[in-house]
Point group: C2
Chain length 478, copies 2
């Protein structure tokens, strides 16, 4: 395919994409097929000779679309939002075309520098403490990671390295492996599996701190556990506060044990909730972030920036870089030691990286802060609307305070009853939800996801749920 | 921006991208600016209100393009190729529009299933042993990782977990931390920094096995080190054979110590060279892969699939999944336990993932195997052409056998002389190269990178290098 054909096919693809998104409501939100469906629809091997573009696009409708769970359908209320907007898509096209691998400053200066400045813009939008802003002389700064899991892992590795150095400073004989075996990290028992994974990868112990009735962790409980561990000869070194979608309020209520008091690194992961902090009315939920050593959230969830784009800030760049700095000659460049230069490969697990800050730049400028705030507020409003519908129906209950875009609800009654309701919803394929477990209760999650979700979709979804509920409760066994 | 405006702007962007790539030769391949250049060109904060699209696109030329190192310029011979093709770009547009987060089968069945089948197609193109092919009943299979670094890390974590289970099977009392402290991984002293990083992250020892004159590792040396370590009470558990770009041949010469003999996991990382193995004439270099537990290479380097797309296969799926399997309720789905279903989140560090197999599908079908082979052969031919030019000039020497698309060369003489030559090349900005170090000699790397590089570019590059050499050698101090 040459440039001339790309011009033609690219424009067709733009129309295909626009058609897909404009008419997405007409597709069933959740596919109706059995595992293994795809293999029999296509050949067993790659073709020896080129095929035509028409054949491929025909197969997109024949093979791919029937197997898609349509995350951008306004009938998709499952998992969490996957951000998507036209400006981000345009930026992504440009990013792909430039196609630089920005592992170092020299590998494409614009790629590195726009990222640093965009992370400053975003940090200011969130009113992050000054020490997270790179500016021209700051010691901290931001980086785009692929996902929150990677940000959590990087923070844990930086903390581990810092802890080893601190211990060895006063006891230089102690082997690293022995120090590792004494390190303890802490997180909420409700935290995301990525936190446990980070500890597993880093080979350190992870303690889960019990949560209270509102699924928040109390500082007293954490303090008690830390003291017990210290008394047992262990070395507390890391806490991760994860604002799970169900209860973003737990950040506020996770009474902060300021990290430096115990020499513990404090990482805050507000993967979903973080986007809302650009609105002054939600920002108080982030209070306490001034004690954190690193902070992370995912613009690719709720800030209209397509996956992947996870925003992470560190208080001290030196800490994260210190986790592993290697410099083979072929990656060195002249400006490296000037102090002005950021080589982002030292901030992340992979070496390669895309020019993702273009997406932030396009989205921030095409929406403006006001447009982004309006998006957040609209989606929170839709969640509140759904909450009201649930509360007005005495057969149902709300299971967690509705603060942002997620409503956790259930039929009053057994877990089985609710499992049965969810099964009917899933099989109906008109809307798509997934469950969660809160205090051993099976709960339905209704997450406002698609950018194009409107009040009429919410009303329709609730109508559908009550219809299925009516049918369910007619059954003799209920 | 609504769908109607996206149709217009998207088509403009397609033209912008085609214009950019068609006229890329007219831009200086390497930017001429100082670190920190970008910050002063744009505001300090995000705009409160939306800006127009025209303003942003004007800034792409004003702010971004002057700071780009143009990886797709035919005058770019630095680092390694970053694959790029029009079919991959079209697939990427589709991937962004669908925007599913395919962490589990249910999250978008097509996303998971196309990936499994495309990895089978690719595995067959490489003539991988049958145990790496998923098929309908296989125990192994492929996964798309973001980068080779992540593939290496995943393999090391899987190996570590397996080793701990094996040791604990015969000694259940031994704490995990103590086992970790005895684990030893091995790699070539010339291996990529990502291998060291993986060991650092995983908290295990890494030994570097000395290489011979052709920068290959001998199996005898490895065997000797393994035996010494075992005698010292350590537990050898992992070897990583990295085919570095300079000497892809070391895979062949790294005499295989079949992994199962010593219960060691063997990972092969052929990040760059792997693409060439679709050509029968290069495939013998991969012989020995039948002993490997995992194998990885980057289609995003040399197989016309835009970043990111790193292809990894494992012999036993259960091993990689076993490294960390968590199942929170909200990620569970009905088909999970059927055995037919792959949940790729268990195969990788991040939770989220894009629909990257679309890129493979478009590229394989639009090029066909023959088209991809032609691309590899053409680029190897260009490297050979450059090699001949160097060999014909008695002032220069070739520093490593030219097997694929990389020529390592230098002026006969001191490292300083060659550093001086490289400085002139870099400052000239007509072509872009980076150095490497081979046996403490400063060497210039000339990598065939851009898809559009032709013989005339090679000739022009050599003409430029000899011109600068002439000037350099005129100077009194040389």
């Amino acid at each position: 395919m040459d440039a001339a054909e790309f011009r033609r096919r690219g424009k067709e693809m733009v129309d295909y994409v626009a058609d897909y998104l404009e008419n997405i409501e007409q597709r069933p939100v959740y596919p109706d097929l059995e595992p293994g469906y795809l293999r029999s629809l296509i050949p067993n091997e790659a073709p020896a000779e080129p095929e035509t573009y028409e054949e491929i696009m025909k197969d997109v409708e024949r093979v791919i679309m029937p197997g898609i769970t349509h995350w951008h359908s306004p009938y998709f209320y499952a998992y969490f939002p996957a951000a998507s907007s036209y400006p981000a898509m345009l930026a992504d096209m440009l990013c792909t075309a430039i196609g630089c691998i920005g592992f170092s400053w020299a590998a494409s200066p614009a790629c590195t520098e726009l990222e640093t400045v965009m992370m400053d813009w975003l940090g200011k939008m969130l009113q992050l403490p000054e020490h997270f802003i790179a500016g021209t002389h700051g010691h901290g700064g931001g980086v785009i990671q692929g996902t929150a899991s990677e940000a959590t892992l990087m923070s844990l590795l930086a903390a581990r390295c810092k802890a080893v150095r601190r211990v060895q400073a006063s006891n230089s004989e102690l082997p690293e492996a022995e120090i590792f075996s004494k390190l303890v990290a802490y997180t909420s028992e409700q935290a995301h599996s990525s936190v446990e994974r980070a500890a597993l990868i880093g080979g350190v112990m992870m303690r889960k701190v019990p949560t209270d009735n509102s699924y928040a962790v109390g500082g007293d409980m954490l303090k008690k556990m830390v003291e017990e561990d210290k008394a047992a000869g262990l070395i507390p070194f890391y806490t991760c506060k994860h604002t799970f979608m169900c209860y973003p309020n737990n950040l506020l209520r996770f009474l902060f044990l300021p990290g430096n008091k115990e020499n513990m690194w404090m990482h805050i992961d507000a993967a979903y909730a973080g986007s809302a902090f650009i609105c002054p009315e939600f920002r108080p939920l982030l209070n306490g972030v001034e004690y954190a050593d690193s902070f992370n959230f995912n613009p690719h969830k709720w800030l209209l920036v397509n996956f992947d784009c996870s925003a992470m800030w560190v208080k001290k760049r030196a800490d994260i870089i210190g986790a592993f700095k290697f410099e083979p000659l072929y990656l060195k460049h002249e400006n490296q030691e000037s102090g002005l230069v950021t080589d982002y490969r030292h901030w992340q697990i992979p070496l390669g990286r895309r020019f993702r800050s273009l997406k932030l730049w396009f989205v921030f400028r095409m929406y403006g802060l006001s447009g982004l705030q309006a998006h957040i507020r609209k989606q929170v409003g839709l969640a509140k609307e759904f909450e009201s519908l649930v509360r007005a129906d005495k057969r149902f209950e709300i299971c967690a305070e509705v603060i942002m875009g997620l409503v956790c609800f259930r039929l009053k009654g057994s877990n089985e009853l609710n499992q049965d309701l969810l099964k009917r919803i899933t099989n109906g394929r008109e809307i798509h939800l997934v469950p969660c477990q809160l205090s051993s209760r099976f709960v339905l999650r209704f997450a406002i996801c698609a950018r194009t979700t409107e009040s009429r979709h919410i009303q329709q979804a609730w109508h559908h749920i009550t219809q299925l509920t009516f049918e369910l409760l007619q059954e003799p066994n209920h």
